[in-house]
Amino acid sequence: MASETKKRTPKHTPKKAADEGLTAEQQDVDIPKSIRVNRTFRTYRAGQYGHEDVGLSEEQVLAMYRSMLLQRRFEERAAQMYGKQKIGGFLHLYIGQEAVSTGAVNAIRIGRDSVITAYRDHGHALALGMSADECMAELFGRIDGCSRGKGGSMHFFSARHRFFGGHGIVGAHVPVGTGIAFAHKYQADDGVCLTFFGDGAVGQGAIHEASNLAALYELPVVFIIENNQYAMGTATTRAFAETMFIKHALSYHMEASLVNGMDVFAVSKAVQDHVAMARDFKPSLLEVRTYRYRGHSMSDPGKYRTKEELERKKHEDPILRLKMYILEHEMADLDALDAMDEDVKEEVRRSVEFAENSPFPPLESIYEDVYTQKDYPFLA
C-alpha cells in the first residue's frame, strides 16, 4: 500500500507546490502506515472493594444502607400512591439502581459539588439528603414540594444541595452539566459536577457535543452513564452499534472506567477516583452497569424482557448485597437492620401524610417563577 501511494502521489502534486521545491514525501498528508489503538480500561467489579477501601466507617456504611432503603421504600410507596391516583403524569422508578446514586453521592462534598441527572431522579435527590417529605409532596403536586409543585417526578431540584435537576428531555441536560462544571472552573471553587444520564441518552448528539466541549475546555465533570440496559423498551443491543460505551471516551481523550452498579462500594470507589481526576480538570466517563426492576414508567409492563432475566437480576439486588455485607462484617445484626427498615417505612409513611396535608399551589402561583421579574404576566 505504502509504495503504491508513493508512486501515485507525484501525479496529484499541484504544480505550484512542485515549483517550490517540495518533495512528494513532504507534500503528502501525513498519514502513518497503519494505526493501532490499544487502550486498557479500568473496571470496578462487584466484591472488589470493601468499605475500608472506600474510606468508610461502619456508621457511614449503615447510613448508606439506610439511604438505599429509603430510596427503595419511598418509591414502593410512590408506586402505590400512583395507583391511587394521588400522583399524576409520569413516574419513573429507580428501584434496583440505588447503589449508583448512593455510591456516587458518597464520593462528593454535598453542597459544594454539583449533581444533575435525567428524569429518573428520586434516588439522586434522596441520596443527596433531600427529605422524603419534600420529594413526596412534589410527586403529589403540592406547594411544599421540592419544586413547589411545578416540576413533578421528573423535575426535582434543590439549590441547597446543588442538585440541578431532574430533566425530562433525554440527553439535553448533559451540556447543562458541562456548563455547571465550566462555572466551577471559571470561579476556581474546586467544585465538580456529576452528570448522570441513561444508556438511552448515548444516542443523542448532545452527549457527543458535551463530551467534546468538556474535554476541549478541560472541565471538572464526571459523565456517569447509568446503563440499565434498556431505553424504555429498547435494549442497548438494539440501539447501539457500540454497546461498550466506555469506548466512546477514546474519541475525547477521556479516561473511562466500567463499574458494577449493583455494588455500592465499587461505585463509590470508581466515582472517588474519577472525581479526583475532575478536580484535576480531567473530565472522564463512567459506565455503570445497573438494572431497573420496574418498567420504564408506571404504564410499562416490561414485555421486552423475560421473567427469568428479571429474577436472575433480583439476586444481584444492591440492597440485599449491602445487607449481606453488613451482616458478614457484623456491623449490625438482623434485628437492627429490620428495625432500620421499619424506621424508614415510618419516615415514608409520614412523608405521604405530609404530602396529603400540604396545600395545592394557589392558582396565582402559575405566573410565578416564569421570570425573575415580578410583574409577569407582562400582557395586561
Binding site: 416540576g151 441536560h173 451540556p175 447543562v176 456548563g179 462555572a183 457535543e209 458535551a210 475546555y217 410565578e368
Partner: protein, 327 residues
C-alpha cells in the same frame, strides 16, 4: 455621544459590562481568534484573554447548553450564534432548558444569559440562512426577545440584557452591522427591556416596526409627510415583553395601524400586535389593521424573488393610504 457602527455599539456594551462584572464571558464560533464572523467581538480576545472570550467548535446545542449550565451556576454568559438560523440546532436548549428550568425548579434557580447574533434576512442566502426568528422565540414564556433598530438602542438594550437575570435573546442583523449612528457614552447607559420608542410623532396613522423594518417605516413616514400626512412611528425594540401600552396610546390618537415586520406572517408578531389592538382598542379603530410582512414562504435565492419576498416600502406606503382612506 460618539458615532459608532452598530457592531461597535454592541461591542462597546459587551466590553463595558465585562469590565464591570467578572462573571460575564463571551462564547461562540469565531468570537475570539478570528475576531468575530462579523467583527462584532473584534479585539475582545486581546482585551480579556481566552478565559473570558472563548472560541467553540461548531456545536450550537453543546455550547448553548453549556452557557445555560454556567448561568445556573453563577455566571453571566453571552453566547453568540453566528446567526440565529443556527440557533435552531440549539432549539431544545433554548426552549426546554433556558426558558423552563427556572419554572420547573419552583424559582430556585435563575438563568442570566444572553444569546445574541444576527437575525433575519441578509440577502441571497436562500431559505436556511434568512430566517426571522423573533416570532418563534417570542411565543415561549420564560424567554425575553429584544431586537434593536439602531446603534444607540443596541448598546443600551444589550447592557440591560446582560444585567437581566432572565434569558434574553438579542437579535441583531448582518445588514445593519455597518450602520452608523450616535451612541451614548454615558456610563450605565441602560435602555429598559420592554419599553417601546415613539420614534416619530404623528396623528394620522401609526406604523409599528422593529429592527430593519423600522427603517422602512421611517421612509414611508417621510413620503407621507411630503403629501401632508402625519405618521407616527413606533419601534417596539423589545418583542417580548411587548410594550402594548405605547402602541395603544398611539392607536387611540391615530385610529389606524400598519405593522411592518420581516417575519413570516402566520402566527407572528404582527398577528399578536393585531390581536392586542383589537382586544383593547377596538372602538378606537377607524380601519382594519394592515400588516406588511415577508411572504408566507421560505426565503428564495433568486435576486428578484428575494426582493419580492421581503416587506416592500411601496406596499407599506399604499397600506397607510388605504387605512387613511386616501388611496
Amino acid at each position: 455621544m460618539a458615532e459608532l457602527q452598530f457592531r461597535e455599539a454592541i461591542r462597546a456594551a459587551m466590553v463595558e459590562e465585562m469590565e464591570r462584572d467578572a462573571t460575564i464571558f463571551l462564547m461562540g464560533e469565531e468570537v475570539a481568534q478570528y475576531n468575530g464572523a462579523y467583527k462584532v467581538s473584534e479585539g475582545m480576545l486581546d482585551k480579556f484573554g481566552p478565559r473570558r472570550v472563548i472560541d467553540t467548535p461548531i456545536s450550537e446545542n453543546g455550547f448553548a447548553g453549556l452557557g445555560i449550565g454556567a448561568a445556573l451556576n453563577g455566571l453571566r454568559p453571552i453566547i453568540e450564534f453566528m446567526t440565529f438560523n443556527f440557533s435552531f440546532v440549539a432549539f431544545d436548549q433554548l426552549i426546554n432548558n433556558a426558558a423552563k428550568i427556572r419554572y420547573m425548579s419552583g424559582g430556585q434557580f435563575k438563568i442570566p444569559i444572553v444569546f445574541r447574533g444576527p437575525n433575519g434576512a441578509a440577502g441571497q442566502l436562500a431559505a436556511t440562512h434568512n430566517t426571522s426568528t423573533e416570532s418563534i422565540y417570542a411565543t415561549i414564556p420564560g424567554l425575553k426577545v429584544v431586537a434593536p433598530s439602531n446603534p444607540d438602542d443596541a448598546k443600551g438594550l444589550l447592557k440591560s440584557a446582560i444585567r437581566d437575570d432572565d434569558p434574553v435573546l438579542f437579535l441583531e442583523s448582518e445588514v445593519m452591522y455597518g450602520m452608523r449612528g450616535e451612541v451614548s457614552e454615558e456610563e450605565d447607559y441602560l435602555i429598559p427591556i420592554g419599553k417601546a420608542r415613539v420614534a416619530r410623532e404623528g396623528t394620522d396613522v401609526t406604523l409599528v416596526a422593529h429592527s430593519k423594518s423600522y427603517w422602512i417605516a421611517m421612509r414611508v413616514a417621510d413620503r407621507l409627510a411630503e403629501e401632508g400626512y402625519s405618521a407616527e412611528v413606533i419601534d417596539p425594540r423589545t418583542i417580548r415583553p411587548l410594550d402594548v401600552d405605547t402602541i395603544l396610546d398611539s392607536i387611540r390618537k391615530t385610529n389606524r395601524c400598519v405593522i411592518i415586520d420581516e417575519s413570516n406572517p402566520y402566527a407572528s408578531i404582527s398577528s399578536e400586535i393585531t390581536y392586542q389592538i383589537q382586544d383593547r382598542a377596538f372602538d378606537f379603530l377607524d380601519a382594519p389593521i394592515v400588516r406588511i410582512t415577508a411572504k408566507d414562504t421560505p426565503a428564495p435565492y433568486a435576486k428578484n424573488l428575494m426582493a419580492y419576498y421581503m416587506p416592500q416600502e411601496d406596499d407599506a406606503y399604499r397600506a397607510c393610504k388605504k387605512v387613511m382612506y386616501v388611496d
